[in-house]
């Protein structure tokens, strides 16, 4: 029985860890404030016939490498290439949350959008048309409430579809202004030529345009290790849970 990797991404304080705990039966600390999870934790869960390795990434507002935790989340999604990236969004502030979802989708289409806290949104009188969002993003969108265990089965069904490649989507293409698009158009072929097709070329071109030195450092490190390693072996990240007292 093969095991699929599911990375949990999302803004801080959207209930990622609550969902993670619910699925894996683990006891990651949760708290109602941004920045509670700083180290990625791993756990396992089973749904129907498949086993999954869940990785709880630090909550971030973007993947623009503003800080160490944003770099950690970004590097995981790009270099570890999880089978599914589950982006957890807060239904009560969807507009801000969607920004991160879009950034993830620019990297990979192997994504499921999970709109958490849907019960709270309903209480506040927010109606969300999941079908419309799903159509715009090109990936499955499921509404859940992790703490009240609503919609979990439906969510896992969609995760399964993406993990087993029944549902596939290319990375989302966001059209920027002309200046950026010209830059991307010029860089993308060069990127493809230099680093091959392993990584999303358009996205890397965009990051290079933004002058993202840290991505370049990570790229070099990974190409070094991947160059020596056998294909298919994944680099082991130090997901150490530090002793606490």
């Amino acid at each position: 029985m093969s095991q699929y990797t599911v990375a949990f991404a999302g803004n801080p304080n959207t209930g990622k860890s609550t969902l993670f705990n619910l699925l894996t039966g683990m006891r990651q600390h949760t708290g109602n404030w941004a920045g509670k999870t700083v180290i990625s934790a791993e756990g396992e869960f089973t749904h129907k016939d498949h086993q999954y390795l869940a990785v709880d990434l630090p909550g971030t507002y973007s993947l623009y490498s503003n800080s160490a935790d944003e770099e950690a989340a970004r590097d995981y999604i790009i270099f570890e290439q999880p089978d599914v990236t589950l982006v957890v969004l807060d239904a009560t502030s969807l507009e801000r949350n969607l920004n991160l979802a879009l950034q993830v989708l620019e990297i990979t289409g192997r994504t499921v959008i999970c709109i958490n806290l849907i019960d709270e949104a309903r209480r506040l009188g927010i109606d969300i048309n999941l079908k419309k969002i799903s159509k715009r993003l090109g990936v499955p969108v499921v509404a859940i409430s992790a703490r009240n265990k609503i919609g979990i089965e439906a969510l896992l069904d969609q995760v399964e579809l993406v993990a087993t490649s029944v549902v596939t989507a290319p990375p989302l293409r966001i059209t920027y202004n002309d200046e950026i698009e010209r830059g991307i158009a010029e860089l993308t072929p060069m990127v493809e030529q230099t680093i091959g097709s392993m990584y999303p070329a358009r996205w890397i071109a965009l990051r290079l345009l933004d002058g993202d030195d840290s991505l370049l450092t990570s790229l070099k490190a990974n190409m070094n290790s991947k160059g020596k390693a056998l294909p298919g072996t994944k680099e082991v990240l130090g997901h150490g849970v530090t002793a606490c007292h």
Partner: protein, 469 residues
């Protein structure tokens, strides 16, 4: 699978970035990119989301107008802190007494058992008077306050109050040259400094992150709360006679400790940001999440299991062997004095300058791996030397201290030293790992130690000068 393609790739990567930088023309391309993303997401939301009533959305923030207001913000913060301490102290008193009596009762049977099988005195000494008694003390003194304090704190956290604290503190941190998020990492330090060091990753600028790392030690962590709570409740209630007054005084003393910690944090941040870590505070967004009703039982169960038992287990695991060793050291005599007394006597002159004694300093030195074990080591040191006290009530723990010449000043200075002295071993290791700099790891131990020495010295000398003790 070394391929020429990869090696070639490495060189061209740099030229790629150079090319990209030229294309970007050094302009504000980040803003354009963010603008593009935001445009798409607001487009999707306009299309897919309908609000029944916009006003209802803001209802959860009404409370914020009060708890983060300029006038009420700080008083409410202090009041909440005070109430948490009050509940802890008032609630822990009786269970502690019960546990102590219970363990004393068992000890009677153990002693009878040892006598029945004619066990040698030294064996009884090592196992019952050293190991058992030490462990029993640790449990009865530390468990009850932790079982109350940690869950209450966790409830506040899950309710969503911590970001409001950060919001209130933000201005102070900015003035002291630090980052507003330092208030968040500081709050995390109330639980565990070692974890808080990792949480400083949320601070983008290396300079401000370093400030947060250096000052995190000044908030008392899980390992130090029991020491502070116990000493405050034994020695700081002073002349206050009635139960309620005693509890109130103790709670205010603890609050005072927290405030001192915060003042030192701000002062050190200010000094460092004017000297070694110069710079201008960066801007950031602090999210105030909606208040959420915590899952009360789940929170209580998890925090009891994860925190209280964890801290207690660590304390016992280290305290048990330490109990045996201190008993042995206290009962091997060289030149009429026990080895333990010789060791304590070595530190004594220095310790007295700081208003403490050699045993206390020894306990802090041995307690470097984990702050939880400072108090157990101290108690066992005291109990193994000199007359053995009858262990069946909490009051007798105070008698042990009094017999060794403790005054309120000793207790106060031990509390201050515990609050300010170097972070524990795990925290120091984390600091080294995070900063990858031996210099900063050493500094983060030396700076607090220096402050702790200066403060306790000043307090001790002043108190003696004015004849307060």
């Amino acid at each position: 699978m070394e391929s020429p393609h990869v090696t070639k790739g490495m060189d061209t990567l740099d030229s790629l970035l150079a090319r990209a930088k030229k294309l970007a023309d050094g302009g504000a391309i980040r803003d354009e990119i963010v603008g593009g993303i935001y445009g798409v997401s607001s487009g999707i939301c306009a299309d897919a989301i309908t609000y029944q009533d916009k006003k209802r959305l803001n209802s959860t923030y009404k409370l914020d107008n009060i708890v983060t207001s300029k006038i009420w913000g700080f008083p409410i913060m202090l009041a909440i802190l005070g109430v948490v301490f009050w509940i802890t102290i008032a609630g822990a008193n009786y269970p502690s007494g019960w546990l102590a009596s219970f363990f004393g009762f068992i000890e009677g049977y153990l002693t009878t058992g040892f006598q029945a099988v004619h066990a040698p005195d030294w064996l009884h000494g090592v196992l019952v008077l050293g190991l058992y008694r030490g462990t029993a003390w640790v449990i009865s003194v530390m468990l009850p306050p932790m079982m109350i304090f940690f869950p209450v704190f966790a409830l506040l956290e899950n309710f969503g109050y911590l970001p409001r604290v950060a919001f209130n503190m933000d201005r102070l941190f900015k003035k002291s040259g630090g980052h507003g998020k330092q208030a968040l990492t500081m709050s995390m330090g109330f639980g565990c400094n070692a974890a808080a060091i990792l949480s400083t990753r949320i601070i983008e600028s290396p300079r401000e992150r370093m400030l947060a790392i250096l000052t995190n030690n000044f908030v008392p962590c899980n390992g130090r709360w029991p020491t502070l709570i116990l000493l405050a409740s034994l020695f700081m209630s002073g002349a206050a006679a009635t139960g309620t007054m005693r509890t109130l005084t103790t709670a205010s003393v603890l609050m005072g400790m927290v405030l001192i910690g915060i003042i030192v944090t701000l002062s050190v941040s200010w000094v460092m940001s004017k000297t070694a870590l110069r710079g201008v505070p960066t801007h950031y967004t602090l999210e105030l999440p909606p208040y959420r009703r915590p899952q009360i039982w789940k929170t209580i169960l998890i925090s009891s299991k994860e925190k209280s038992l964890n801290v207690l287990t660590r304390a016992i695991v280290v305290a048990a062997p330490a109990g045996i060793i201190t008993w042995i050291l206290g009962n091997i005599f060289v030149g009429g004095e026990s080895v333990l007394n010789h060791m304590a006597a070595f530190f004594d002159p220095f310790a007295h300058l700081l208003g403490m004694d050699g045993f206390i300093i020894m306990a802090f030195i041995l307690g470097l791996p984990a702050n939880e074990i400072v108090l157990p080591i101290l108690l066992m040191g005291y109990m193994s030397s000199g007359s053995l006290v009858d262990v069946d009530s909490l009051g007798s723990i105070k008698d042990i201290f009094l017999e060794h010449g403790w005054t309120w000043l000793t207790a106060l200075n031990m509390m201050l030293f515990s609050l300010l002295h170097y972070p524990c071993g795990t925290t120091l290791v984390n600091i080294y790992k995070e900063t990858k700099s031996m210099k900063w790891a050493v500094l983060s131990a030396v700076i607090p130690l220096g402050i702790a020495l200066v403060v306790t010295f000043a307090v001790a000398q002043l108190a003696q000068l004015f004849g307060w003790v």
